[in-house]
C-alpha cells in the first residue's frame, strides 16, 4: 500500500476534526524498527511510515486514545478485528474510532506444532512456561486484555503466586487465553513481544478454532454481534449430546 495514501487519509481525518489523533507507525530508533506514532496535527502526517517493520497491533492504544476524543488507527485485518471486538465489548464507542486499513503483509514466522500425544503437549507447555519471566508483556500488548484489574494481580483471592516456574505461569497463560475466547483476532502480538519466545498465541488460536466449531463464531467480525460467551441459544451444543 502506498504510504502517501495512508498519510492523505490521516490528514483528512485530522483536518476535518473527525479525529483528534491518528495512531500509526513512524521510524524507530534504528532502521530495523518502527515505533508507534501519535499524530495530532495534519502537518505531522509525513512522519507516518508503512513497511515491513510496522508490526505492532496499534489497537492496544484504542481505549487510551479514545478517552481524549476521536481516534483513527492504522490497522491490518487482524488489528481491525481487535477494534471491532472492543466495540462489541463496550470498551470503545464506535463513533469515536476510525480505522485506516492497511493490507496484512506481515512475514509471519512458522508456528511450532503442538505435539501429538497429550503427555507431550503437557510437557511442551510446561517447558515453555518454565521460561516465563512474568513480565506480562503479552497481556499488556493484547487489545483483548482490557480488564482494569487482571485476575493475576488480585491479592484476594490470589490465583497464582508471582513466583517464577511453570506452574504459576501456566495458571496465568491458560486463564488469560480462556478469557480471550471470542476476542482474539490472531494478531500474534503476545508471541511477538515475549522476550523469551513463548508461542503464547497458540493457546488463543486453539480456542478460537473451537469457538468457530462450536458456535460458528469468528472474533471481531461484526460490531453488532454479542460477544460469543456473553450470549447463548437454547440449541447450543450440549454435554449430553457429546457424551459429557
Amino acid at each position: 500500500m502506498d504510504i502517501q495514501e495512508i498519510r492523505n487519509k490521516a490528514k483528512r481525518l485530522l483536518e476535518s476534526g473527525e479525529v483528534k489523533v491518528v495512531v500509526g507507525y513512524e521510524r524507530g530508533s534504528t532502521e530495523s524498527k518502527s515505533t508507534p506514532a501519535f499524530i495530532e496535527s495534519p502537518d505531522d502526517v509525513d512522519r507516518l511510515i508503512w513497511d515491513a517493520t510496522c508490526v505492532n497491533n496499534l489497537a492496544a492504544y484504542a481505549i487510551q486514545e479514545a478517552k481524549n476524543g476521536g481516534v483513527a488507527i492504522i490497522a491490518r485485518d487482524c488489528d481491525a478485528r481487535s477494534i471491532v471486538m472492543l466495540v462489541q465489548e463496550h470498551q470503545l464507542d464506535k463513533d469515536a474510532v476510525r480505522v485506516i486499513e492497511v493490507p496484512d503483509e506481515t512475514q509471519w514466522a512458522d508456528d511450532p506444532a503442538l505435539p501429538e500425544s497429550l503427555e507431550e503437549r503437557r510437557a511442551f507447555w510446561a517447558k515453555e512456561f518454565e521460561k516465563c519471566t512474568r513480565c506480562y508483556a503479552c497481556r499488556q500488548a493484547c487489545p483483548g486484555c482490557f480488564c482494569n484489574t487482571c485476575f493475576i494481580d488480585r491479592i484476594v483471592p490470589r490465583w497464582a503466586a508471582k513466583r517464577a516456574g511453570a506452574s504459576d505461569a501456566w495458571m496465568f497463560h491458560v486463564t488469560r487465553a480462556m478469557h480471550q475466547a471470542g476476542r482474539c483476532g490472531d494478531c500474534r502480538e503476545c508471541s511477538r513481544v515475549c522476550p523469551v519466545g513463548i508461542p503464547v498465541h497458540l493457546l488463543a488460536r486453539e480456542i478460537e478454532t473451537f469457538v468457530g466449531e462450536l458456535f460458528d463464531y469468528k472474533a471481531g467480525m461484526d460490531m453488532d454481534a454479542d460477544p460469543v460467551l456473553g450470549t447463548f441459544t437454547p440449541e447450543d451444543p450440549d454435554p449430553n449430546e457429546h457424551g459429557g
Binding site: G28, S29, T30, S32, K33, S34, T35, P36, F38, N56, A60, Y61, Q64, T133, R134, C135, Y136, A137, R139, Q140, A141, D153, A161, K162, R163, A164, G165, E189, R192, V193, P195, V196, G197
Partner: protein
C-alpha cells in the same frame, strides 16, 4: 598479569576450572539466542562448543543477575507443627561459583547490585552468601550492538577491572588478564603461557576499541540533576509505553523485589520474587497510590538509575547494556528520551 591460551586449549582450560567451581556462562539456546546458564546443566558432550560459541559479543538475553538474585528465592519456610524451630532459612550451596563471559556492562551491573544489597545498616544475607567467593571472569566486547551505549554512561574499560579475570579474543588465541589474586590463581594452569609483545599489543588494541565506542548525544548531560520533574517528555514517551515489565525484568541492574507468602502442601513458604516499578501495584497502598500514572512510573525508572542511585551510591545505575532498548515491544528507546529531556537549570 597476562597469559595467553590458544583456541585449542581454551575448552580444556575452562573444563579444568569446573573441577573447583560451579560454572555459569553464556551458552547458545537451541533457537540460537544466547543466555546465561549453569554450564554443568548442559549435556557433557556440548560443553566445549557451548562455551566457545558464546564468547563473542552477543547481548545475552538473560542478565547474570539471575545467579545473584534468583527470579524467585525462598527466604524461609514456616512449619506450624514444629514447636521448637518453626522457621527455617535455606542455606546457600557451598561450591563457589564462577561467572564466565561477563561483559563490561555486566560487571558494572554487579557493582550496582553490590551497592544496593550490601551497603547500609543491613546487608542482604542471601545475596551476600552468593556474592562471597563468587569468581567473575569477563570478556572484551569485539563490537557494539545497535542498542549498546556503555561508553555514554561511563568507562567500560574501567568496569572490566572489577572482574577477577578478563578474556580478550585476539584472533589466534585469547589473552587472559588477571586483576585479582583469585584471577591469578585461575591462570595458574599448564594450558596457559606467557604472551608475546605482539599478542599484548593486540589485547591493548581490543581494549582501546571498546573505549572508543562513540558516545550518544545525551552523554554530556549526565550530571546529577538533569531529569526535570515536570518535563513533558515523560508524558510523551509514556504514551506509547505498554506498561509491561520487560525493561526491568531483563535489566542487569534492576533488582526490586516483592515478598509473598504461599501455602503449598501444608507448608508455608515466604519467598521473594522480581517485581517492577512499571506496574501500578508496585506502590499501591490501601489509602492511595503515589504513582498512579504510566508517566510517573517511567520517570521513576529513569530517575532511579540516572538521578537517585548517583545520589545514593555515586554511581549511575544504568550500564548501557541495551537490553531494554532492544527488547522493548514498542521501541521506546530510553536513549532518545534521555537526549530529549530538559536539564534542570
Amino acid at each position: 598479569m597476562d597469559k595467553i591460551v590458544t583456541k585449542d586449549n581454551m575448552a580444556a582450560w575452562l573444563r579444568s576450572l569446573r573441577e573447583k567451581y560451579e560454572m555459569i556462562g553464556p551458552v547458545k539456546r537451541p533457537d540460537g539466542a544466547p543466555e546465561f546458564r549453569d554450564i554443568d546443566m548442559m549435556p557433557p558432550g556440548i560443553i566445549p562448543g557451548g562455551i566457545e560459541v558464546a564468547l563473542d559479543n552477543a547481548a545475552w538475553l538473560m542478565p547474570p543477575k539471575d545467579y545473584l538474585l534468583p527470579p524467585t528465592e525462598t527466604l524461609f519456610t514456616y512449619d506450624e507443627k514444629d514447636q521448637a524451630e518453626p522457621l527455617k532459612v535455606p542455606l546457600a550451596g557451598d561450591k563457589p561459583r564462577l561467572l564466565l563471559g561477563l561483559r563490561a556492562c555486566d560487571a558494572r551491573a554487579i557493582r550496582v547490585l553490590d551497592h544496593v544489597y550490601l551497603d547500609g545498616a543491613f546487608a542482604d544475607p542471601y545475596y551476600a552468601a552468593r556474592r562471597k567467593g563468587m569468581v567473575m571472569v569477563g570478556n572484551v566486547c569485539d563490537e557494539a550492538r545497535w542498542s549498546c551505549f556503555c561508553t555514554s554512561v561511563g568507562e567500560p574499560v574501567e568496569w572490566l577491572k572489577d572482574l577477577d579475570a578478563v578474556i580478550t579474543d585476539i584472533g589466534a588465541g585469547f589473552v587472559v588478564t588477571a586483576n585479582t589474586p583469585v584471577g591469578e590463581s585461575l591462570l595458574d594452569s599448564s594450558y596457559l603461557s606467557d604472551p608475546s609483545d605482539q599478542q599484548m599489543n593486540l589485547k591493548v588494541a581490543a581494549w582501546d576499541k571498546l573505549a572508543a565506542i562513540p558516545k550518544r548525544p545525551f552523554a554530556d548531560k549526565l550530571a546529577k540533576d538533569f531529569l526535570a520533574w515536570d518535563d513533558p517528555i515523560w508524558e510523551k514517551y509514556a504514551r506509547k509505553c505498554l506498561g509491561c515489565g520487560i525493561c526491568s525484568y531483563l535489566c542487569p541492574s534492576c533488582s526490586c523485589f516483592d515478598i509473598q507468602d504461599e501455602r503449598v502442601a501444608g507448608q508455608i513458604e515466604r519467598f521473594r520474587c522480581r517485581d517492577t516499578c512499571q506496574t501500578c501495584y508496585f506502590t499501591l497502598m490501601p489509602s492511595h497510590n503515589p504513582r498512579p500514572e504510566k508517566k510517573m512510573r517511567m520517570r521513576q525508572r529513569l530517575s532511579h538509575k540516572f538521578k537517585y542511585q548517583p545520589e545514593q551510591f555515586d554511581i549511575i545505575g544504568c550500564t548501557g547494556c541495551g537490553r531494554c532498548v532492544e527488547l522493548c515491544p514498542v521501541n521506546l528507546d530510553i536513549r532518545q528520551a534521555l537526549a530529549e529531556v530538559t536539564p534542570n537549570e
